[in-house]
């Protein structure tokens, strides 16, 4: 396992390095930060001063090596727009995104696994049909539409919940509910499909013949073997949220890393863009390692 983790760390670090190099050079082809930061009427002299002040007039390779030598010392640079260390902006946003992702995916995983398993056990029944119908709607409904409708109904219409913000537990209900719907629908379908395969296996029939209780068949014998593809999809969905739940962050006013990243790209705030990418990539790398470990725990045949 240790060797596997080391290999995984090295390959992930290499991928991250290539990603950062690509982003570093490509984003510099997309426009001049001086034109975006300074007023339209700024003279060319003022733009030159801005570029000098922020090192944008240095040769591109010099900027690149300077960036990486700073990065080794965990110096991610200064945000052009916010005049503060880029890493401060990113970690502040990432904290919110991580909380959103953790709470949402915990709810999604636990509910989708339980409901998907029951639906598979009674395949074709009323419960299965209802669950399949609503999970397909959930998996295909657009986030922004659900978010706006939720605000109109639950905040403006009924007055039950605040429209947006982060102040109290009530502020979290709508964003988490909106984020919940799509991965819940998707994962529930994966759980159901995977359980259907497992429940038709010979050892399950044997267990039934031996008179093992239904709950034990589903949640002890069946679920463990059905979980491998489910874990993969959960990881994929969680990575999506960690990369930034941009729509939910934008509509509900959550100051997460997704919105920060989009704003920084539009403003050509290079240091923040790169810091966001590095932090989210590291988080996703750590999550993938955890998923590999869970694979090994669930299926002892998997050896690294």
């Amino acid at each position: 396992m240790t060797n596997f983790l080391i290999k995984r760390a090295v390959t992930s670090a290499l991928s991250l390095f290539i990603l950062v190099v690509l982003v570093f050079f490509l984003i510099r082809l997309t426009g001049d930060p001086a034109s975006l930061f300074l007023p339209l009427d700024a003279s060319e002299e003022a733009k030159e001063k801005f570029r000098d002040l922020n090192g944008l007039n240095d040769p591109i390779l010099h900027q690149f090596f300077q960036y990486f030598s700073d990065l080794i010392r965990l110096d991610f640079g200064i945000s052009l727009r916010r005049a503060e260390p880029a890493i401060d902006s990113v970690l502040r946003g990432f904290k919110w995104t991580l909380q959103l992702a953790a709470i949402t995916m915990s709810l999604v995983a636990s509910l989708a696994i339980i409901i998907g398993s029951i639906a598979a056990f009674r395949v074709g029944g009323f419960f299965d049909r209802i669950v399949t119908f609503f999970s397909l709607i959930g998996a295909s409904a657009p986030d922004f539409w659900i978010a706006i409708v939720a605000i109109v109904v639950f905040s403006v219409g009924l007055g039950w919940l605040p429209t947006s913000g982060t102040g109290t537990v009530f502020h979290w209900v709508l964003p988490i509910s909106v984020l919940f719907i799509r991965p819940f629908g998707l994962i529930l379908q994966v759980v159901r499909g995977s359980m259907l395969n497992v429940l038709s296996a010979g050892y399950i029939k044997t267990a039934r013949a031996k008179g093992v209780k239904d709950t034990a068949i589903v949640f002890v014998h069946g679920l463990r073997n059905a979980m491998l593809p489910v874990i993969t999809v959960i990881g994929d969905q969680a990575a999506g949220i960690l990369n930034g739940a941009v729509i939910v962050e934008t509509i509900f006013g959550f100051p997460g890393v997704g919105k920060l990243m989009i704003d920084s790209i539009l403003q050509r705030d290079f240091a923040v863009v790169l810091a966001s990418i590095i932090i989210t990539a590291v988080a996703i790398f750590v999550m993938n390692i955890l998923i590999d470990i869970i694979y090994a725990i669930l299926d002892p045949r998997i050896r690294y």
Binding site: S35, W96, S155, T163, G253, R268
Partner: protein, 500 residues
């Protein structure tokens, strides 16, 4: 733990987390974008100005809609000649930290907005190319000299925010200290800014005792927050969200929408073609449909409230027949009228920009122009809108919105029309002289010169396609007595808000 105890604990936890009720003298203002920096030297940026300008940091003079230039930190001013103006500062003014405001602070503030170590928008936008020197006569009298001389220096001082002479020249401040009626208490980045009444304020107390600014980028959410009572004022509401006549105010927002036409490349270098372009646009068709009621067809680059705005000018009539005749005349003289013209729009520039651009394209095509619409994100759009222009650019028309809430055309005319202007589409020595002369003139002469310049631009040279003076919408909670004005686009003075 017994179930009853468990439920009690949960109930208490929920009650603790309930939002605190709004206090009678507090206001919550929801803005469309977060403030990246809060330094008063950036207060000319609209999102920063709405929080900082005249609330936390005051300017030396103040431009008041309908009243013109008024005293603020300077009580009076007089022209000393040779580009020097003497400002007599208000006595007894304190910064919110208790330190006294004096001429030293004004001199430092002027020096700081021009600092090489910062990129202060006020310095770059309003004092670019102008050397400023100061001479402190006494603690409350200062001579300010501009080189070249600026007849409107007192007006320029209406954008200069006063800062303490101890503020650094090489670093933006994160917690500004000003002389304004409110103190900057806290900035929870990404979440909120809190201001509270400044007990040291020279101008007395205001009805609003504290203010919270929050940020929501979605217009419908901002509007909903006022409807639910979570906020008191929501700025920049989109047309489709301004659905409540009782709470939604429209006001001229000082933005002018126009199409910048390249006057140096065929076929748009021919004045008949530019006239035809103008006659092809049915301006009235936009108003009340994809643009808000109250939008005004434009005949000048600046809002009608600007001095020197020529109210005698009339928008070009919608006359497709005349447009076709002009194109035919130009064609007969060898002008390549079939050449493809790129119509450049900026995505997300204003509500319904895509629909507006598509309608404009259709109108121009209807009279025979070969127009191709291209929409660009702001960075790419800037490359096409601002100089240096590509040598092989071909005929190009660029949609842009220009903001001038400063009361004088000087803040617009050079950049948009002079040969050296960063967004000018024309090289015209006659116009250069008209702009230079009007810039140097004062009083009634200045006003008349700007009127003539605007007439030349619109009627004689037909330099661009002036479209509309735009309106903005704000939703205001019914408990407030506050009506947004043209200044609301750049500042939102809490001291002007009262409660019903």
């Amino acid at each position: 733990m017994k179930y009853s105890n468990y439920f009690k604990s949960v109930l208490v936890a929920i009650l603790i987390s309930l939002p605190l009720s709004v206090k009678a003298n507090d206001v919550t203002i929801v803005l469309s974008e977060e403030l990246d920096i809060v330094d008063p030297c950036e207060a000319s940026r609209s999102n920063i100005g709405r929080v900082i300008a005249q609330n936390v940091s005051e300017t030396i003079t103040e431009l008041v809609p309908g009243k013109g230039l008024q005293p603020r930190l300077a009580e009076s001013w007089e022209d000393q000649g040779n580009g020097t103006w003497r400002f007599n500062l208000r006595k007894g003014v304190l910064f919110s930290d208790g330190s006294a405001f004096d001429a030293e602070d004004v001199a430092h503030s002027l020096k700081r907005i021009k600092s090489d170590q910062l990129s202060c928008e006020i310095g770059i936008k309003y004092f670019g190319g102008i050397e400023i020197s100061t001479n402190i006569i006494d603690a409350h009298t200062i001579d300010i000299t501009a080189n070249p001389a600026q007849p409107i220096l007192p007006l320029l001082m209406s954008v200069v925010t006063a800062m303490r002479s101890t503020e650094p020249m090489d670093k933006y401040v994160n917690s500004p200290v000003g002389t304004g009626p409110y103190t900057f208490d806290q900035y929870l980045r990404g979440m909120q800014i809190n201001l509270s009444a400044n007990t040291n304020y020279w101008g007395g107390s205001s009805a609003v005792k504290s203010a919270k600014y929050i940020f929501r980028s979605d217009s419908s959410v901002r509007a909903a927050m006022v409807s639910t009572g979570e906020a008191d004022i929501a700025t920049n509401i989109a047309l489709q969200d301004a659905t409540n006549a009782g709470t939604d105010f429209s006001y001229p927002n000082s933005e002018t929408l126009y199409l910048r036409v390249d006057n140096e490349v065929a076929p748009t270098n021919d004045v008949r073609i530019r006239r035809a372009l103008n006659h092809a646009v049915d301006r009235e068709a936009f108003i009340g449909t994809i643009l808000a009621n109250g939008t005004i067809p434009a005949t000048g680059m600046t809002p009608p409230s600007t001095i020197g705005y020529n109210h005698d000018l009339r928008p070009f009539s919608f006359d497709p027949k005349k447009a076709k005749e002009l194109i035919a005349q130009a064609k007969a003289d060898g002008v390549p009228v079939e050449k493809e013209i790129r119509l450049i729009g900026r995505t997300n520039n204003f509500a319904n920009v895509q629909e507006t651009m598509e309608a404009l394209q259709a109108m121009l095509q209807d009279v025979g122009f070969n127009v191709k619409l291209e929409m660009y994100e702001v960075a790419e759009w800037l490359d096409l809108y601002s100089k240096p222009y590509a040598a092989d650019r071909g005929p190009i028309i660029v949609e842009a919105m220009h903001d001038n809430a400063n009361g004088d055309p000087v803040f617009s005319m050079f950049f948009k029309y002079a040969t050296g202007g960063a967004q000018s589409g024309r090289d015209d020595l006659k116009l250069d002289k008209m702009i230079a002369d009007a810039t140097a003139a004062t009083g009634a002469k200045r006003e008349a010169m700007w009127k003539n310049t605007m007439a030349y631009i619109h009627d004689e040279a037909v330099i661009d396609i002036l479209l509309f003076h735009m309106v903005g919408f704000s939703r205001v909670n019914e408990r407030l007595d506050f009506i947004p004005t043209i200044k609301t686009n750049s500042e939102l003075q809490l001291s002007q808000i009262s409660f019903k």
